[in-house]
């Protein structure tokens, strides 16, 4: 063997964790790459404590040994490349828009002019969503806590905050509507509607089940691939359309603005699902099983809300149509994901 003369290594330009990269990593990558030390290589356990401590066993079971496996989770990139700085810029602008809409409508006294039917609709299908969205917020926080890469944790972390944003907007509107319609039950009836009204029970059942789905991959599938895309279609898209039809522009605008967060969540979640399949085709069967199980719960939830919507619009919409519309929205989100024929294309782009 001929010896190559020892060359002085070029000075580093970036973290050695990126390997020998030709291209300089982006600011997003520098700030996001391999931040979670419980995922370090050659570890005997996630935590630097007794390997059989309860936290170590939990992470072993629900993260490291999840049925959803990939060779390299750190290959994942959020398609929006969100950093903290980008997130607060994005959302402070988004919230400024919301504030503008709220202010304009408050000045116009829109709430006082709402027909009773619209008030009832909002009080049954909009203001109670703070419970549902808070449950989603908790599940998303869990996904972030347990995710097998900081690239995934960060996306879930911003998404957790998005749910808080939504709860906050719902809370604000709850108060405004309560002031305008003190006898409507808005601001006081939500919890009992959420806990006991027939229309809400399948949704509550779904989120309660999601809260106790501790495998991180199943939690991600349940919420980000199935429940949220399905129920957002009912609670943002379809409710917004009905509101618009009723002349309730404020609710229509607000739900449309909030839907931007859902679309961003759909983008990164879809990308992550694709990556798992591209890296390991066996994940298709894993996702398929979970998607099947959670779709049933999601469809029931959408149907329950559909019945509520039907009863509040005096039959202008049908529960079956609401559920079908929601299912179609989810199926678009998941389109061809589990399709065996898509193997090569996903692998090529993944």
């Amino acid at each position: 063997m001929t010896e190559t003369p020892a060359r002085k290594p070029r000075p580093r330009r970036t973290f050695s964790a990126f390997g020998d990269v030709r291209k300089m990593p982006s600011e997003y990558e520098i700030m996001t790459h391999a931040q979670n030390w419980t995922l370090r290589e050659n570890r005997t356990s996630a935590f630097e404590q007794n390997p059989s401590s309860a936290p170590n066993l939990w992470f072993l079971t629900y993260r490291d040994n999840s049925p959803l496996q990939a060779q390299d989770w750190d290959a994942y990139r959020d398609p929006d490349s969100l950093t903290y700085r980008a997130y607060v810029n994005l959302q402070s602008e988004a919230e400024a828009k919301v504030a503008g809409v709220l202010e304009t409508h408050a000045e116009a006294g829109s709430d006082a002019q709402l027909p009773a039917g619209s008030v009832a609709l909002l009080g049954h299908l909009f203001t109670p969503t703070r419970y549902l969205c808070h449950g989603f917020q908790q599940v998303e926080a869990y996904i972030g806590y347990m995710a097998p890469s900081s690239y995934i944790t960060n996306a879930a972390a911003f998404c957790t905050a998005d749910f808080l944003r939504r709860v906050t907007n719902v809370a604000y509107r709850t108060r405004e509507l309560q002031v305008a319609w003190p006898d409507s039950g808005i601001g006081s009836a939500e919890r009992s509607l959420w806990e006991t009204h027939d229309g809400w029970q399948p949704a509550r059942k779904a989120v309660e089940y999601a809260l106790v789905s501790y495998d991180w991959g199943e939690a991600f599938t349940a919420l980000n691939l199935v429940l949220a895309p399905t129920l957002d279609d009912v609670l943002l898209t379809q409710l917004g359309q009905v509101a618009k039809g009723n002349g309730d522009d404020l609710s229509w605008l607000l739900t449309s603005l909030l839907a931007a967060d859902s679309r961003r969540r759909d983008r990164w979640s879809r990308q992550l699902a694709e990556l798992t399949i591209a890296q390991r085709p066996d994940n298709r069967a894993v996702l398929d099983k979970w998607i099947g199980r959670w779709s049933q719960l999601a469809d029931d939830a959408a149907h329950g809300l559909g019945q509520l919507l039907a009863s509040l619009t005096e039959g202008a919409v049908r529960a079956d149509d609401v559920a079908a519309h929601a299912r179609a929205a989810r199926e678009r989100h998941l389109a061809s994901l589990l399709d065996p024929a898509s193997d090569e294309t996903t692998a090529a782009t993944g």
Binding site: T32, N36, E103, G144, A161
Partner: protein, 506 residues
């Protein structure tokens, strides 16, 4: 007509708990994640933060903060400040970047855990802001550290440090895993926001910021003071949690806070102590580590625990005595095992520096002076070999730091004492009585192999210094060395070598 005031509607954001009926409450809030213990589940409904914040306020304020933090950074980008910084100060920043960036990320995970398992909706919401805050800290620290890699490879450890098995990092992971990512949320809220964030981070962030300014490192000062402004918000998760725990289980509250304070104090003695009393150039030191501890930590800590009806920790006297000892012993250990560091540790014992140390710590010469004299004489005799390690230090089975604390015997002499105990057919060694007691109380959880245990078990191969450095992830371009031997030994050139120094040389 303007927007409604936050107070008018925020009650709804906070009121998001409901009664489960499809699953059990104990399945949603498993005991070992939530740790309600003796506190009745419904008692948590009284949890209330003092200072409220809403989402739109949050993103607006934080956007401004980010804009100004990065504006300062880019304004300084082309300045040559960095090249003129003292090596000792640079070492303090390298230690900070490597020792802190990923701890901020551990705090992201901790906050996410509370955002999921916190026992009250308002708590979970506050933790949702908390995880965003910590994400900010992790990202800004990582990014600022990254900037210097081209100038100095040791800054690579900003990201790398916590992925290695370096002894410093094993110790820190052990501490922060135990008090941030892994514990139940009740303990977590008392350990992280209350004990650590309202106390110790002040020391690292406020005190170090002033040293940074003195040292001319405006960029660093800007970064850490901007980070510190977020703490007031999310650190308030500790108070309401402690209040409820104290009411129902004061014994546990006392233990959790005592354990977290002790662990934090050990880690700060290892890192912040040397940075303040040895690395920061003498003319830029504002106060000694001990003075900082007294002003920023001890008064406030004692005040806080008394406010909640708790007592000073059982180890208080040992801790207070340690303020004159721990970090000096650790400084010597860090310097001696300098190839295992990702910074260039300054010895900091020139005549002037020693005079300062002796003034701040009256026993310093008696306990440490003669040991440094041996090192000084070896350097001056061109016998650097004798100042380099051939073996590993004995590491404490609780804090994983070198067991090198001298204590004074009744006859007045100072010696390093071995604190040990038998458990499960094995002898465990500790740096202090406090560490030994904590191990015993928490033995099932903290029982974990130290680097020495791993070495003796043959997990580190080959079993020599090279093998150990490899196991620790050290590469030749990063391994620490003294930045300037002459700086601290030239005062002593030509003096007669005697006593212990002579013995060590022969």
């Amino acid at each position: 007509m303007a927007l409604l005031k936050r107070e008018e509607w925020q009650g709804f954001v906070r009121d998001v708990d409901w009664s489960y009926s499809y699953v059990d409450d104990s399945a949603v809030f498993p005991e070992w994640h939530c740790g309600t213990g003796k506190v009745p589940r419904e008692a948590w409904s009284a949890w209330e933060e003092d200072y409220k914040v809403s989402y739109p306020e949050y993103v607006a304020t934080q956007r401004e903060k980010e804009a100004s933090a990065y504006a300062v950074k880019s304004a300084l980008q082309r300045s040559t400040t960095f090249d003129h910084l003292d090596e000792g100060w640079k070492s303090a920043t390298k230690m900070h970047f490597g020792g802190v960036a990923l701890v901020e990320y551990a705090a992201v995970l901790a906050e996410l855990k509370m955002a999921r398992f916190g026992l009250n909706g308002a708590w979970r919401n506050m933790a949702t802001f908390g995880q965003l805050d910590e994400l900010r800290h992790a990202q800004i620290t990582t990014f600022f550290g990254h900037e210097f890699i081209g100038k100095d490879a040791q800054y690579d450890w900003t990201q790398k440090a916590f992925h290695t098995n370096d002894w410093v990092l094993i110790s820190l992971r052990n501490l922060f895993d135990g008090m941030m990512i892994a514990p139940n949320v009740v303990d977590l809220a008392i350990e992280l926001p209350l004990t650590f964030e309202t106390g110790f981070t002040n020391l690292q962030f406020v005190a170090l910021a002033s040293d940074a300014l003195e040292s001319g490192d405006v960029n660093f000062a800007n970064m850490i003071s901007s980070i510190q402004t977020d703490e007031a918000r999310h650190s308030q998760q500790g108070g309401p949690t402690l209040e409820i725990l104290v009411e129902h289980d004061p014994v546990r509250a006392q233990w959790v806070i005592d354990k977290a304070f002790w662990g934090s104090a050990r880690a700060f003695a290892a890192l912040t102590g040397p940075a303040m009393d040895y690395y920061t150039p003498l003319e830029h030191r504002k106060q000694s580590y001990r003075e900082f501890m007294e002003e920023w930590i001890i008064d406030q800590f004692v005040h806080t625990i008394e406010e909640y009806g708790l007592k000073k920790p059982w180890y208080w006297d040992e801790f207070m005595r340690g303020l004159d000892i721990w970090h000096h012993g650790l400084q010597m250990g860090l310097w001696y095992w300098r190839p295992t560091l990702w910074w260039r540790p300054k010895a900091g014992v020139s005549k002037d520096e020693r005079a300062w140390l002796a003034e701040k710590y009256p026993n310093w010469e008696k306990v440490f002076g003669d040991k440094w004299d041996v090192l000084i004489d070896n350097v001056n005799a061109n016998n650097l070999e004798a100042t380099l390690p051939e073996t590993l230090p004995w590491l404490c089975s609780t804090c994983h730091l070198p067991a090198c604390n001298a204590t004074q015997s009744r006859d007045g002499t100072w010696r390093v004492r071995d604190w040990s105990l038998q458990y499960d057919g094995r002898t465990y060694h500790f740096c202090t009585n406090g560490c030994r007691q904590i191990f015993w109380k928490d033995r099932d959880n903290v029982n974990h192999q130290t680097l020495i245990d791993r070495f003796l078990a043959g997990q580190i191969q080959p079993m020599d210094v090279g093998g150990i450095l490899g196991y620790m992830g050290l590469t030749p371009d990063v391994m620490g060395d003294d930045p300037d031997y002459e700086a601290w030994t030239k005062d002593y050139v030509g003096r007669p070598v005697e006593g212990i120094s002579l013995a060590a040389q022969s």
